[in-house]
Symmetry: C2
Amino acid sequence: MSLSIDFSKSMVLKKMEISKDKSRKALNTLLEGTGEGNDFLGWINWPKEYDKDEFDRIKKAAKEIKDHSDVLVVIGIGGSYLGAKAVQYALSPYFTTNDVEIIYAGHQMSSSYLKELMDYLEDKDFSVNIISKSGTTTEPAIAFRFLKQMLEDRYGKEESKKRIYATTDRGKGALKGLADEMNYESFVIPDNIGGRFSVLTAVGLLPLAAAGVDIDALMEGAALGVKKYKNLDFDDNIAMQYALYRNILYKEGKTIEILANYEPKLKYFSEWWKQLFGESEGKDGEGLFPVSVNFTTDLHSMGQMIQEGKRNILETVLRIKNPKHDLIIEEDPKNLDGLNYIAGKSLDYVNKMAAKGVAQAHFDGDVPVVEITMDELDERHIGELMYFFEISVGISGYILEVNPFNQPGVEKYKSNMFRLLGKPGYEQK
Amino acid sequence: MSLSIDFSKSMVLKKMEISKDKSRKALNTLLEGTGEGNDFLGWINWPKEYDKDEFDRIKKAAKEIKDHSDVLVVIGIGGSYLGAKAVQYALSPYFTTNDVEIIYAGHQMSSSYLKELMDYLEDKDFSVNIISKSGTTTEPAIAFRFLKQMLEDRYGKEESKKRIYATTDRGKGALKGLADEMNYESFVIPDNIGGRFSVLTAVGLLPLAAAGVDIDALMEGAALGVKKYKNLDFDDNIAMQYALYRNILYKEGKTIEILANYEPKLKYFSEWWKQLFGESEGKDGEGLFPVSVNFTTDLHSMGQMIQEGKRNILETVLRIKNPKHDLIIEEDPKNLDGLNYIAGKSLDYVNKMAAKGVAQAHFDGDVPVVEITMDELDERHIGELMYFFEISVGISGYILEVNPFNQPGVEKYKSNMFRLLGKPGYEQK
């Protein structure tokens, strides 16, 4: 197993060599905990130092959920939604459901969505995993109010308590208070791990375990990442290289980074990546704007823009060496579709030749292309890849000279909203 | 019914007034057919002049499909995928399936996806709608080769012919030849309507009718658009206004346009919009890069970047006045989550206050915000909205001085891919 990276079409190989000390310095700041936001570095050693007893409780809870529920509704927003969704979607079948169907809620405020969800749950046994540090974040709190009521109406007050799993603060906050009072099984969101870095804590692990993901392997992959990407030797650490490459190009006017894949199972992984990079770097009037594309689909929509539009784009590609399934294209005697020239080839081979052709075309069109390859799309590689991106964004944020661990701008719309809704304390703002 | 638009936070109201003649001139060029790409203007009067006999055949075919199939596999890519998916997703329930389940294929080359789809179809009755002008586009041609074989193995050669619906060129091409030979029911992709403008032709209409969408109402909405948006009076035509606003801001350094919604059913509508604008404008080193966000979800991922990142963003918001379903938030005696201040309010009201708070916050953060409101999320409004965006992009492309109706860059990766795959005729390139 391994991740590898190909910088041959990055257009900045020499510049990377010259300025590699910048990346080393940033990683050093991160590892020594001397930079801004250093009270949120708990994720760095987490894959090795996580709470093993809680981990066992998570597996036990997942088994319980499988035993008594058709559906687990996971209520959370931002980092309490995107990480679990990313991994679950990457590792689940496209057209069938695992033992337990995972449905997300409280990640927006569509009344149609919540009403239709409640109708759907009418004839299903279900449980709820409410994920919120405070318990008062508007979106999840509203969804939880409705679904908790539904559970109590359906199963009675006592039985419903066994169907609610709370992932929240260790000691304080509204949800922690409720969980203690009601005796919900509960799990911890560590104080020193921000939302977008929380996928490998109970935040992501409980929904993933319920979905049938091998969370031991996921943690093993991340632990391998700890071993590989804390390395201060630039030439031997692809996270430092990736962080530097994107910053050099950003300074040269590439203001949009596209994360591309050729396997739609990675669609929500890219959404997770967008939060990780967008929220970490988009501040102080700076930041490479993260965008995701799913190829070859989006070559037939955004492909023209990438090939010949404004030259402000750099492209990072996620590749999978060995596909989960493959199919051989057969000879057709009539060959009306003209495909016989690839008869005998596998579909994955054709997909890979498309990827190769695209990389060359975009490079020729002045779009730098860097490819990250994982051997398999499995728990170990996803775990390592997530850790790789997490440490990369920490390095990258420090190179950019922003605090990669806060998100002050997210509060602004909330104060406006609270004022409009008449929330006590927000009247005068 | 109506669409309305609010430019009060556009930051360019005065500039729009000064340069409105630019927009009028562009629309005039479009309507007179004197600009570049004028052999692809068939969509302009299509909602009034479409083939009514074919339209009836589409409805008949949809009924047939409902009678004999659990699943309709729609094979197409680009405009032969995104339009149908956009409308179907916008108008379908979240958690249940209509009479016929619509599954898309041939819109990428994931071998895992196609293999898992074929496994899923093992115990289902299904039909195929293959949509391809030429019949030789790689992605759909491969998927069709596999699924046609599967139909023939399952139902026999004769019966399978009745389960294949071909949407293709009127007279030429590989798929047209096959359809004639096999006597497939077939429908026309008009010569003068490009892929990204084709949703209201048989390309979109057959899958949509099968999905239970009221295609009469969809066409009526678009026909209302024809009436409203061909109007050369700038003050009375919001399509001209929208086209101009985005171009003024683009010239001022806003290089990214975000299309935001507060109802996730619009998620794939935004994907359709991205193709429409990205492929029409991304050429000659120009073009506003189109991005979609789903709020409030993405306020907790891309929100920080939009609020405080690089100031190169403009935001267009799709709003729905009356939600399909709504829920009232009830009082909770304990109020641990602190939500009682909104007890008695509806969830949609809270969602709308969020939208209002966000617009103000982004505007305060130097992001121009323009809001487009539709009264209902239904066929009529979607039809009008699609036509609105189609005519807007025509005007916008001419203001930008690019040909909005071609896509030369899409060919580049294809030639590379064909060379790598050893396709005859591509060896030397």
